[in-house]
Amino acid sequence: MDIRILEGVFDANERIASENEALFRENGVLAMNLMASPGAGKTSLVSRTLEMLSGKVSIGVIEGDIASSVDAEKIKSYGVPVVQINTGGACHLDAAMIREALGHLDLPSLDLLIIENVGNLVCPAEFNLGEGLRVMILSVAEGHDKPLKYPLMFSQSHVLLVNKIDLLGMSDFDVGTLRETVRRMNPAMVIFEVSCRTGEGLPAWAEWLERMVRERKNQQRM
């Protein structure tokens, strides 16, 4: 006997993700899912963003790691609310983990929630968290050929931050080739070239992000 099912394998995650999304919308919070491979500069970007937007935007952070609270400790020193999620081996955050973490945050008091995903260019792209903005980092040391190797991440993200541009002269990384590859995969992707070490390019990113946060707030008022 044949039984028709037509149930998506990720449906359970998608359901919780849309509940998270509704919570973010009701509270006027822009949730940003930050994804990259280990060592690309996720935590450095969160730190720099906090430095640049503090006083202008109320920010909360969720730190996702397989183990440890090293990153959360770093972020706590900026005086913002931080929740650490340890996935206990899982290679990505999922919507249920975010829902649980939200219980430890005062959403109405926030404008921006930065969710630092587990370091991985593959799996996080498959799991919707309910975020309004998907941001990925590619660092110069990783090479400009990565979009073709990790296509889902590059095709799903709204923003690409090319980090460690202070290393450009020391590598074969070709920003032009990267931009052309990305344009063919995801023409709407917004690209910023930055260095979290020297600070180059970061003001443009911070201004853009602040504008996105304001737009989200305005949508809530409408």
Binding site: M1, I3, I5, L6, G8, F10, N120, V122, L148
Partner: protein
Amino acid sequence: MHELGVTESIAGIVLRHANMNGARRVLKVNIKLGELTGIVDRYVSFYWDMVTKDTVAQGAELNFVKVPTVAYCNRCREEFRIEEYDLTCPRCGEVASDIISGREFVVESIEIE
């Protein structure tokens, strides 16, 4: 990379429907799998026996139907198959904005007895 978790999700869906329909045994599971998902079917099959041990789904055959990545060109108003994740329309050279298939991961049907 997360094929074990995914296999558990598939088993959950299959067993729920098998029980609802009073199945003694699940013979086959038909799964639609988009090319753009990062899922490797042979790893799912590898975990399947472990995940379904001592259930009615143990030993069921997993049949994966691969779905190619297809985009839609707004200018030509036609679909085209994407190779190497390049969204450039082969007819007019415009970069398409819509991927219309390739992300499917659906348990379509099961065969039971």
